[in-house]
Symmetry: C2
Subunit: 298 residues, 2 copies
């Protein structure tokens, strides 16, 4: 007997995934814990934000779920070629800012969207933002994602990897945000199949990230690496506030500001015209960000 | 004999003002100096950026001039109800981030804009962003500005003060950026008169700000005030990257990124859901930002 996919299933999955991911991250951190804040959206719905600050490994991180509905603001409706109408959205969104500059920042987001006219789609993605690039880490991350993609559609990794490179791109800097991952949106039709794929990405999150954290979190660092991390975090802020659709969507739909902006790093630096030394590890990262790579065979 | 206003005059004035302001700021700083970077814009024109970092008083500050021309990008043309056409713009833009949290951050910008169809206008403004609010400082700042406005048009202070409160407003936070100042745009017709007004604002900059700097730069502060300053600087970043038209214009017209983003503070902090203690000086500031005041009689 097969059951039809429903938005309630998606919502329940995201909540269950939130609990599972937070538990895994707390174990990996070995010290910090997540605090939990529930919130209600005046126009309909609400969410649960779980935030860790000043952990051992994670200087700041948030794992949020939300289920919001009501009338879509006109600005957003226009952007997605819809008229202002009823909408429903449920999703999970997370960003982790590790303390140690050798450990990359990670972002993941999965969402299900329904419009009053019956159209519905999944979207999401996950991308890795290192401060220093270890090929081994990028390969691991992409391999886990490709395995999930391949189980759904052998063409999808190539497509979603490219989409990720295009989306997480700082036009004004001419730089990718990091070493990429996957990004997808408007996965319409056959919700059962797309939901299985989205669950695959969600279920793979801890596997895609924790082995990297374990490998790097014990490496020694100094003032130089910390300064570089704070500068690069500035790029993260620039991306999220200038380009990120999730941030814009949240702010424009009167989402809870503190939950939307939990993605911003705990400490950030903007130094005028900072340029890494030729041949340094810092310059190596920039080279990679300026010329996105194929980390694994697509 | 009267001479007709010209864009060359405006451009020359902004350059001369830049030199005068930098000299005044270096004297006030007593230690730091401005470095100078000239740059060229691929589409036409260029600018001169002058930046101070790690001064005694000013942790970071930039005083930039630019003179750019070419074809207006379509996105911007649409926003100001023009078709993509030739444009010319010259202006000065400055932001100062003091080290001491008792000293407010200041921003000023003056610009002259000409379109191929012959329409031309002045715009600009200046606003003060304290971390702790001293009524005396806000009153001083607004008094200097009102005096300049009154010499041009007795109605203008009231109008430009309100425009400033509306423009420098973080909608998602429900907060003004600071204690305001003046903001004006599209000052068309009678360029001689508007140019005199713009020069009045430019010439008053050091008078509007340095007495405040002198009063506050010697006050002792600790971890608490520094933390609050870093958090509030986060709001400055949010405003500049999410709302500020000057930043958007610069990024969209392929301006020099480092010159545009010199306005971002040297060190910034985002703490999740930070709320000042009831009755504290920090809460007092928030109250003021949530309910913009008339600091002086309009």
């Amino acid at each position: 007997m097969t059951t039809q996919f429903s938005k309630e299933q998606a919502n329940r999955y995201f909540q269950e995934l939130q609990a599972r991911i937070c538990e895994g991250l707390e174990q990996a951190d070995g010290g910090g814990g997540f605090r939990t804040d529930g919130w209600e959206r005046p126009g309909g719905g609400g969410g649960v934000s779980r935030v860790m600050e000043n952990g051992e490994v994670f200087e700041k991180g948030g794992v949020n779920t939300s289920e919001v509905f009501g009338t879509l603001p006109e600005t957003i409706a226009r952007r997605i070629n819809a008229s202002p109408t009823g909408f429903y959205a449920t999703g999970i969104s997370l960003v982790l800012h590790p303390r140690n500059p050798w450990v990359p920042t990670i972002h993941a987001n999965l969402r299900y969207f329904e419009m009053e006219d019956g159209s519905a789609w999944f979207g999401g993605g996950t991308d890795l933002t290192p401060y220093y690039c270890f090929t081994e880490d990028a390969v691991h991350f992409h391999t886990v994602l490709r395995n999930v993609c391949d189980a759904s559609d052998p063409e999808s990794y190539r497509k979603f990897k490219r989409w990720c490179d295009e989306y997480f791109y700082l036009k004004h800097r001419g730089e990718a945000r990091g070493v990429g991952g996957v990004f997808f949106d408007y996965l319409k039709g056959d919700p059962d199949r797309h939901f299985r794929f989205v669950q695959g990405i969600g279920d793979a999150f801890l596997d895609s990230y924790l082995p990297i954290v374990r490998r790097r979190a014990g490496l020694a660092y100094g003032e130089r690496e910390r300064t570089w991390q704070l500068i690069r975090r500035g790029r993260y802020v620039e991306f999220n506030l200038v380009y990120d659709r999730g941030t814009t969507f949240g702010l424009e739909t009167n989402g809870r500001v503190e939950s939307i902006l939990m993605s911003l790093p705990p400490l950030v630096s903007w130094i005028y015209d900072h340029t890494p030394e030729p041949g340094s590890k810092e310059e190596e990262l920039l080279e990679i960000l300026r010329h996105p790579r194929e980390w694994i065979a697509a």
